[in-house]
């Protein structure tokens, strides 16, 4: 197990390097002279040249990349073009908000998805199954930004149960978390259902039934534990699109998280800010995936044999 974790850690090193390379290249892809862009509008030629010298932008590309990595690992993500403050400071303010949103959303994804999937699988092709699956299909088809607006319209504007936007109280979390978690919940529900249906046909479930176990013990102890194994991976992958989705949901509900920061930064052409945001989000995703992999391993010890 320890060896496995070590091996997986070693495997993500090239991925992280690759991610930093791509993020580094964003700057290079921007048309025009990086130094001019970084100096901001209306900067004098002297300022531009000074900046070029200071940031080493006159050095070859690979040297620039190495110094970029070195800086990143020291926590230096560069400075914002807007206010010249370190990007990392801004990220540190906003990351907890996004993580909180992501946490509650993934909670909704898992809990809602599992419950719906199990309800479906217990009586396949029944009305409850068809109902759940239709809702799940809608869940993967509705754009989150639209769903968010609809929820906001119904619950905040018409019923006035919940605040419209912002991030001040627990009540503020509810709608964004549902909006962001709904798509994942739908996918988890579909996966749980198909996985359960497959497991229910397995020999060991028949054995459990032949033992005279009660139906709920068969479902929850014998079937579900096995059915969950593939679902874990799906949840892990879902976390990625969830992080991407924060961009949209934070914009809909005016939440000052990383996602909204990136979008605002793109609008104002604040490239270092975009780089920092994308890099942080990707690193979080890479580590979450690592965690999911390890969990999968723990749940499914049979892999050891193969």
């Amino acid at each position: 197990m320890f060896l496995f974790i070590l091996k997986r850690l070693a495997q993500i090193v090239p991925v992280i390097l690759g991610v930093t390379l791509v993020v580094f290249l964003i700057m290079q892809m921007v048309p025009g002279d990086s130094a001019v862009i970084l100096a901001g509008e209306g900067a004098s030629i002297e300022t531009v040249e000074e900046l070029r010298e200071n940031l080493g932008l006159n050095k070859p590309l690979y040297e620039q990349y190495f110094s970029y990595i070195a800086n990143v690992f020291q926590g230096d993500f560069g400075n914002s073009l807007k206010n010249n403050q370190p990007v990392l400071d801004e990220i540190m303010i906003r990351l907890p908000i996004t993580m909180e949103l992501a946490f509650f959303s993934i909670l909704i994804t898992i809990v809602l998805g599992l419950i719906a999937g199990i309800i479906s699988a217990i009586r396949p092709y029944s009305l409850s199954d068809i109902g759940v699956m239709v809702v799940a299909l809608l869940g993967i088809s509705l754009p989150s930004f639209w769903l968010g607006l609809l929820l906001m319209y119904v619950f905040s504007i018409k019923l006035q149960w919940l605040p419209v936007a912002g991030w001040d109280s627990a009540a503020h979390i509810i709608l964004p978390a549902i909006t962001l978690g709904a798509g994942g919940a739908a996918i988890v529900a579909r996966m749980t259902r198909s996985s359960m249906l497959e497991v229910v046909g397995q020999d060991y479930v028949r054995t459990a039934r032949a033992k005279g176990l009660k139906e709920h013990v068969i479902i929850y102890k014998h079937a579900l534990r096995n059915a969950l194994i593939p679902v874990i991976t799906v949840v892990g992958l879902q976390f990625g699109s969830l992080l991407g989705g924060t961009v949209l949901v934070e914009s809909v509900f005016a939440i000052n998280g990383i996602g909204r920061m990136i979008v605002d930064a793109i609008r104002t052409r604040d490239i270092p800010m975009v780089q920092g945001g994308v890099l942080i989000a990707s690193l979080v995703f890479v580590f979450v995936n690592l965690l999911v992999d390890i969990m999968y391993r723990v749940f499914n010890k049979r892999i050891d044999l193969n």
Partner: protein, 338 residues
Amino acid sequence: MKNEVVLEVKNLKTHFISKKGIAKAVDGIDFVLRRGETLGIVGESGCGKSMTSLSILRLIPSPPGKIVDGEILLNGKDLVKMSNEELRKIRGNQISMIFQEPMTSLNPVIPVGEQIAEALRLHQGLSKRQAWDKSVEMIGLVGIPSPEKRAKQEPFQLSGGMRQRIMIAMALACTPEVLIADEPTTALDVTIQAQILEIMKDLQKKIGMGIIFITHDLGVVAEMCDQVGVMYAGQIVEHQNSATLFRNPLHPYTQGLIGSLPKLYENQEELQIIEGTVPSPYDYPDGCRFAERCPFAQKMCIEKQPELIQYDEDMKVRCWKYTAQWQEESSSREMVTQ
């Protein structure tokens, strides 16, 4: 106590109803199982023997499967008419089952000791601790060394033979009155097969349960069974004591089966095989279901289905050859040829 009938199956019919039609997998089975006795049910794959065994505990996948007729009497009480809850209390308690595939029949994510213990807690009301101890004891009883350690392991850590022993331990934990063993040794290699059979016989002596032994292996039947039902196309075609069956098989199908066995001391040029194929369960012929493959088949065999007739004490056969009509027909045939 012995000789007492524990399980009686009367005219059991299990059909599978689907778009393709009705598959009559089990089509009118009768047998009687006594305490301490082993009944073998033999036949080729697809003859309905596994479906018979699954029908007894109503474990047929439903839909599409359904017991459409018949009675299954455990100590006189009909399992077919029981509520699911009543039946649940019998499963694993009074009647338990061992399946063919030890690799897939155990839950891969639950320690084997717990898989045995859960039935003990449920049916015998043992505490967690007691059930675990009994479970370890059972694992030792089926001949697995260091049972305390093994009980905590998960199936993937055990060999095929060990897993089947675990299945036996699980099935026998609640000292059932009837054990249904569906090809329990087919997936195992020969030496382990012998050990498993030995354990089963041993435990039968200790517990005194009746065993229904489903197999396609006549060698195993000879070793294990007191009486034998031979199944063909959803029906029992012959029923005998196993001692007499091998010496004196009545039904042409049984004769074919026994003829196809490789004989150790005879220098056979080649094995006999029964030609032709088993009829589809969706569409059985009107007459005898074996007629198409039978070397003795006559007009009457194709026209009308024979009943399972009492040939002798403890000997039943479903074949026109042993009826009075056959005698008449054949004498009239002889007259025609003369």
